[in-house]
C-alpha cells in the first residue's frame, strides 16, 4: 500500500528493500577518499571500449550485473529496469542495457536520476506491480565534457565554481518484503529556477530545488533534521551546499549538522583539482551505492534522506540565454521499516 502524507510525500507501506547494489568508477574516483567502498574500478576511462559513450554504457551494464550478483538474482528475476543518464536521448542507458531483455523505462532527471530511478523502482515494487526492479544511472567525465563543454584537450580554464563530472555508475536492486535498508518514503520534487544562468555554477542552480524538496518533506512528515543520521544531497558541491544551508535557514530549518554532499564526499577537493566538487548522475549514484548503502548495511548509519539534485538545461537553452531549472527528488532510506 502506498499512502500520501501531506501534499508531496508518498509513504511506501510494506516498504521495499534494497536487496543489492553496486558501484562502478574510474581511476580518478578511486584515488578519492571512498576508494575502498567501490565494487568495480576501471583501469582507465575507456573500460576496454573504443568510445567514451560505449565506455559509459559498459559501466551501467557492469553496475547492474554486479548488483544482481550481489543480490543473488538473475535478469529473469527483474520485472522492470529504470535507467537514465546525461547523454542526448539517454544513449548510455539504452545501449548499455539493451542486451539484458528486462522491460526498460528510460528516465531523464539529469544528475537527480539516481533518486528518480530509485523512487520509481520503489513505488512500482510497493504498489505490487513487480517483486524486483532495478534502478541504475551513470555519467562519464569525457562523454559529458564533449557534449556540454569543450573537447578534452582544449586549453580553456575552468572557473573556481565549476564541478567535475564523475566517471561512475550506481545500480540498486529493489525487492519486496526482505531485510533492510528500506525505502520508506519518496518525495518527488518540483522544478525550481531562481535565475542562475552560469553553466559553471550548477550547484547554485540546483540548491533551491534541494531546499524546496527537503522543506516539503519535513513539512509533510512533521520530522526534523535531527531525526536523521544524514541528509545527503547529490552534487551541490561547495557553492551549492553553502547556499542550501543558507536557504533552509531562512525558513528556520537548520540542516548544517546533518548535511553531506556526494560531490564533496567522492573527491579530495584539495588534492584532486576538481574545483567545487563532483557532479553528474554517477556522482550520487556511485556514492549511494558504495559508501552510504555499505554503512547502512553494517548499521553505522540508519536513517538517510537521499536528495539527488539535477540541472535540467541543455546546451541549446543556455546558448539561447535561458536560466537553469533545478530539480531534486528525495528518498528516505532507513534500516527500520515503517
Amino acid at each position: 500500500m502506498i499512502s500520501r502524507i501531506g501534499q508531496y510525500t508518498l509513504q511506501l507501506g510494506n516498504a521495499p528493500s534494497i536487496v543489492g547494489f553496486a558501484s562502478v568508477v574510474s581511476k580518478k574516483e578511486s584515488e578519492g577518499p571512498l576508494c575502498k567502498y567501490f565494487d568495480i574500478i576501471g583501469d582507465d576511462d575507456h573500460f576496454g571500449e573504443e568510445t567514451w559513450e560505449k565506455a559509459e554504457s559498459r559501466m551501467q551494464k557492469d553496475a547492474v550485473g554486479k548488483a544482481l550478483s550481489k543480490a543473488g538474482l538473475t535478469t529473469g528475476d527483474i520485472q522492470y529496469i529504470f535507467a537514465g543518464d546525461l547523454l542526448n536521448q539517454c544513449i548510455s542507458s539504452a545501449y548499455g542495457l539493451r542486451d539484458l531483455q528486462i522491460p526498460f523505462v528510460g528516465l531523464y532527471g539529469a544528475c537527480s536520476t539516481m533518486a528518480e530511478s530509485l523512487s520509481m523502482a520503489s513505488i512500482f515494487t510497493a504498489a505490487g506491480a513487480c517483486t524486483n526492479a532495478v534502478a541504475v544511472t551513470s555519467s562519464h567525465f569525457c562523454s559529458a565534457e564533449r557534449q556540454f563543454r569543450f573537447p578534452l584537450e582544449y586549453g580553456g580554464v575552468r572557473t573556481p565554481t565549476a564541478q567535475w563530472t564523475v566517471t561512475g555508475s550506481g545500480s540498486v536492486v529493489v525487492g519486496s518484503h526482505l531485510n533492510g535498508p528500506y525505502v520508506n518514503m519518496v518525495t518527488i520534487g518540483k522544478i525550481q529556477d531562481m535565475g542562475i544562468k552560469d553553466l559553471n555554477n550548477m550547484g547554485a542552480a540546483m540548491a533551491p530545488a534541494a531546499a524546496d524538496t527537503i522543506k516539503c518533506f519535513l513539512e509533510d512528515t512533521g520530522k526534523k533534521p535531527e531525526d536523521f543520521d544524514m541528509i545527503l544531497t547529490g552534487d551541490l558541491g561547495l557553492v551549492g551546499s553553502e547556499l542550501l544551508v543558507k536557504l533552509l535557514l531562512k525558513d528556520d530549518i537548520d540542516i548544517s549538522k546533518k548535511h553531506q554532499d556526494c560531490g564533496l564526499l567522492i573527491y579530495d577537493l584539495e588534492k584532486q583539482d576538481v574545483h567545487a566538487g563532483g557532479s553528474g548522475c554517477g556522482c550520487s549514484g556511485s556514492v549511494l551505492c558504495s559508501y552510504i548503502l555499505n554503512n547502512m548495511q553494517n548499521g553505522a548509519i540508519n536513517d538517510v534522506l537521499f536528495v539527488a539534485t539535477g540541472a535540467l538545461m541543455s546546451t541549446t537553452s543556455v546558448q539561447q540565454g535561458e536560466s537553469i531549472p533545478g530539480i531534486a527528488h528525495l528518498v528516505y532510506l532507513s534500516n527500520q521499516s515503517l
Binding site: P151, L152, E153, Y154, G195, L243, K246, D273
Partner: protein, 147 residues
C-alpha cells in the same frame, strides 16, 4: 522560496569563490611571455639561416602552431594551459589548440561528419569575425583615403 531571485543572486555571489588573480595573472604573463620569446628565437634562427625578415616571421608563427598542435596530440597542452590560462590561449598557440583538440575529440564520429565538421567548432567564430573585422578595417582605410 521565501527569497527573491535578486537576493538569491547576491547570496550566490557571496558563496562563489573568485578566480585567484594574484596567481593566474602573473602565470599568464610569464608563460605567455615565454611563448613570445620562443617565437622570437625561432624568427632569429630563421634569419640566421638566411631567410628574409617577412618569411622568417611567418615561419616563426608556423613553428609555434606546430608545437602547440603536437603538444595537444600528446595530451600535454591542456596541462600547461591549466597553469598558464590566457598565457597559452592568447598567442597563436591557443588557436592551434582550438582547432586540433576538437579534431581529435570528434574523430570517433568519422572523418567527414566528426573530424571535418567539428574541427572549427571553437575556432570558427574567431575566423568569421576576424574576417569581418578586417573587411571593416579595410573599408575605413579606403573611405578615408588612407590607402
Amino acid at each position: 522560496m521565501s527569497i527573491t531571485n535578486q537576493e538569491y543572486d547576491s547570496l550566490t555571489k557571496q558563496a562563489s569563490p573568485g578566480t585567484k588573480s594574484y596567481k593566474t595573472i602573473p602565470m599568464a604573463f610569464l608563460i605567455g611571455g615565454l611563448i613570445c620569446v620562443l617565437g622570437q628565437a625561432f624568427i632569429n634562427l630563421y634569419i640566421w639561416l638566411g631567410v628574409d625578415q617577412q618569411t622568417a616571421s611567418t615561419l616563426g608563427s608556423m613553428t609555434l602552431i606546430f608545437i602547440a598542435a603536437l603538444l595537444t596530440g600528446l595530451n600535454m597542452f591542456d596541462n600547461i594551459a591549466k597553469v598558464a590560462g590566457a598565457g597559452t590561449l592568447v598567442p597563436i598557440t591557443g588557436f592551434s589548440n582550438a582547432v586540433v583538440s576538437p579534431a581529435l575529440e570528434f574523430k570517433s564520429e568519422g572523418y567527414v561528419l566528426g573530424l571535418g565538421a567539428k574541427m572549427f567548432v571553437i575556432a570558427g567564430p574567431v575566423i568569421v569575425y576576424g574576417v569581418v573585422a578586417s573587411v571593416v578595417y579595410g573599408l575605413i582605410l579606403f573611405l578615408f583615403g588612407l590607402v
